[in-house]
């Protein structure tokens, strides 16, 4: 779960990392008021869950409250990478003598957390690593020990810092790692970490991403006014929202990870790696999927039925392909039942509708029996996923 800058800063403040003096505002009038109270030049920063707001005009500086209001008007009217700006952070403007980078994430190859520092803050880390790879210092950290002071010092030294300021930065690195560990982060980043002209180190920006799987053990987020939510790189469609509701009917089975596409072949496909393979196979054979919808972990008949109905009702659908891998724990017969029930409830004759079923594995014989009874064309394990996808594509292009 990505946090907004102001949420990340709430955590920074609580854990003792210095942040600029600032407040959240949801209207230009509020911005003016805050600027008035701060009695300083201010930075107005759009609060969105996407990077690149600076380039998009989402960060502006104002000399006085009146100008702050004017600029806030501009920011509130922006749409950055599809996101409307609903809130802005109004902070005292900082005057950096240098901008630094500090981040912690997981190195999936080393299977450990890794800390990264650079003397080149203020630009995207990927850009730094592309253009100046020698300016990036990385250090694996032992999860059980946590970051030690000497490691913080190493990171600080590699930001080009010396003496007193080096120790200050080392201390911030240790604190940032503690946040990373304590809040189960996927990513904890300060970019830029600003060294002010009077020798203070301040986290001008803050970027935390919390791991979805660990949110259950972070009840403290509620007290910090950080609501639990689901990340989405794009706004979900109505079709996807409906599917999510169906998935919540009960906890059994991963049925309902649904993404809408604009093709004409409805898909109900095996979960995990199989869904990836099947979706590729449909495209490989020239098919145009109407949706991606995986089923796995042995979902209930009701879930399968509701998802099938949702897909069959989608405008422009010409046919349905139910394709799974050879199943280990999801039952073929339960999937078959769900699909048939959906058709019956929608008054569709299964023996006439273009539907192709390819599944095998657990309870396959029971499944095939029901499919035969309702006259649904099915393929067993003698036909590969490939062949099934091809057959399905041909079925609707007739």
């Amino acid at each position: 779960m990505k946090l907004y800058e102001y949420e990340s800063k709430t955590i920074f403040k609580k854990e003792g990392i210095l942040i600029p003096d600032g407040y959240l505002a949801s209207s230009p009038e509020e911005v003016e008021k805050i600027a008035n109270n701060l009695k300083k030049e201010v930075a107005i920063k759009a609060q969105i869950l996407a990077t690149g707001r600076g380039k998009a005009g989402g960060i502006l500086f104002a000399k006085n409250p009146k100008e702050a209001k004017q600029l806030a008007n501009k920011i509130f009217s922006l749409k950055i990478k599809g996101f409307e700006v609903e809130k802005v952070l109004v902070e005292e403007r900082l005057y950096p003598s240098s901008e630094l980078f500090l981040g912690i994430t997981y190195d999936l190859s080393q299977k450990k957390p890794v800390a990264i520092s650079s003397s080149l803050g203020g630009i995207d880390i990927n850009e730094i690593s592309r253009k100046y790879p020698e300016k990036i210092f990385t250090l694996p950290i032992n999860m059980a020990w946590g970051m030690q002071n000497y490691q913080g010092k190493l990171l600080a030294k590699n930001m080009g810092l010396k003496s007193k300021i080096m120790f200050k930065a080392a201390n911030i690195a240790v604190k940032l790692f503690n946040i990373f560990s304590k809040y189960d982060c996927d990513l904890a980043e300060i970019n830029p970490l600003i060294l002010t002209q009077d020798g203070e180190l301040i986290a001008a920006d803050a970027h935390l991403e919390l791991e979805q799987e660990a949110l259950y053990r972070h009840k403290e987020l509620e007290q910090l006014n950080i609501p639990i939510r689901k990340d989405s790189p794009r706004i979900p469609t109505e079709f996807e929202i409906e599917a999510e509701k169906i998935d919540k009917i009960d906890h059994r089975g991963v049925a309902g990870r649904v993404v809408e596409f604009d093709g004409d072949l409805g898909l109900l496909i095996g979960g995990g790696g199989a869904s990836l393979t099947i979706f590729d196979a449909v495209r490989y054979h020239g098919g145009k999927a109407a949706n991606y919808c995986e089923i796995g972990g042995n979902p209930t008949v009701k879930k399968v039925k509701e998802l099938t109905k949702l897909i069959l009702k989608k405008p422009g659908i010409k046919g349905l392909a139910v394709i799974t891998n050879v199943l280990n724990n999801t039952r073929v017969d339960l999937v078959a039942r769900g699909v048939i029930l959906a058709m019956v409830e929608l008054d569709i004759n299964p023996s006439e509708y273009p539907v192709l079923f390819r599944s095998a594995g657990a309870y396959e014989e029971d499944g095939y029996k029901i499919l035969r009874k309702y006259g649904i064309k099915y393929l067993n394990r003698d036909y590969s996923i490939d062949q099934a996808a091809k057959t399905a594509v041909e079925m609707i292009s007739k």
């Binding site: 790189p233 794009r234 990836l276 280990n328």
Partner: protein, 298 residues
């Protein structure tokens, strides 16, 4: 031969009284796997499919010499369960549980490394050495397991449990058997990855060809490709990458928690290139995969 598990494997099931664990315990026994005990804290003294249940892992290790454990407990208990198994000197731990926080996974792997314990998973469906032994839910019920898997020369490692069985079944249908098939787990951080399994397959005389099922996201494929080049790997490796369409949809997750392409990293395209550089044949379709495997065995 075979790798990781064989006739000498003595399995302990952690979380044996759970719905799924008790089911696959039965399937393991049906497959003649030596399941010698289970652990569910507080339920010591019960039995599940005639397998005795204990409160602590060390009870089973001391009294019955368990060397392998399958962990199937809720995510919030998984770290404790796995650490207990490592501490009790279990040599191979297969973690079936999915959605374990990364921090817990890293702590498990660090301790396992110190004690020289091998870890497969989390989010692994299990391991099977056809005709010898299976650990976990892999293959499903006895009938289906026997239809999908047969003894032979192909080693399979896969980020997807479902596709492990699918590929095995496809090969079996073509009269090509398998040595050992491993569902390595679909999470972003897992214990043994392709890179760590390749040397075991290389040493195994039964294994002639290795098939890897891969997905976008993570670095397993790139790491494996590097290993193959650096060690002049001696056996043919054939890869299939599911989810090439994911490249076009950055930031979105499909299938597994680890399947995500971000900031141009983890793309299927990049993995295909890395493999090709290492001389790994990358099949575009499963039909082609079978052809490649047949050719390699000629």
């Amino acid at each position: 031969m075979s790798i990781l598990i064989d006739e000498k494997t003595k399995v302990l099931v952690q979380g044996i009284t759970g719905r799924e664990a008790s089911l696959f315990t039965k399937y393991m026994i049906d497959y003649d796997t030596n399941v010698i005990g289970g652990v569910t804290p507080g339920k010591g003294g019960q039995t599940v499919h005639r397998v005795p249940v204990f409160d602590c892992v060390s009870d089973v290790v001391k009294n019955f010499g368990a060397n392998t454990s399958i962990v199937s407990v809720p995510p919030r208990f998984a770290k404790d369960a796995a650490l207990e198994a490592v501490d009790a000197n279990i040599k191979l731990i297969v973690i079936f549980t999915e959605r374990i926080p990364k921090k817990d996974v890293v702590l498990i792997l660090d301790f396992a490394e110190q004690k020289n314990t091998k870890v497969i998973g989390p989010n692994s469906l299990g391991i099977i050495s056809p005709g010898k032994c299976k650990v976990g839910a892999i293959g499903g019920p006895q009938n289906e397991t026997k239809k999908s898997y047969m003894i032979g020369p192909v080693g399979i490692a896969s980020t997807s449990g479902g596709m492990t069985t699918e590929i095995a079944s496809l090969l079996t249908n073509n009269q090509i058997g398998q040595s050992t098939c491993i569902s390595v787990g679909g999470d972003p951080i897992v214990g043994m990855t392709f890179r760590e399994l390749l040397p075991l397959f290389e040493k195994d005389i039964q294994t002639k060809t290795i098939v890897l099922f891969c997905e976008p996201g993570g670095t397993q494929e790139e790491d494996a490709a590097r290993y193959i080049i650096e060690h002049s790997y001696s056996k043919p490796v054939i890869a299939f990458i599911g989810g090439r369409f994911v490249d076009e949809m950055p930031g979105m997750r499909f299938g597994h928690a680890g399947v995500i392409v971000q900031k141009g990293k983890g793309t299927a395209k990049g993995k295909v290139e890395a493999f090709k550089k290492a001389g790994v044949l990358v099949a575009d379709t499963l039909t082609q995969l079978v052809d490649y495997v047949k050719d390699s065995l000629r």
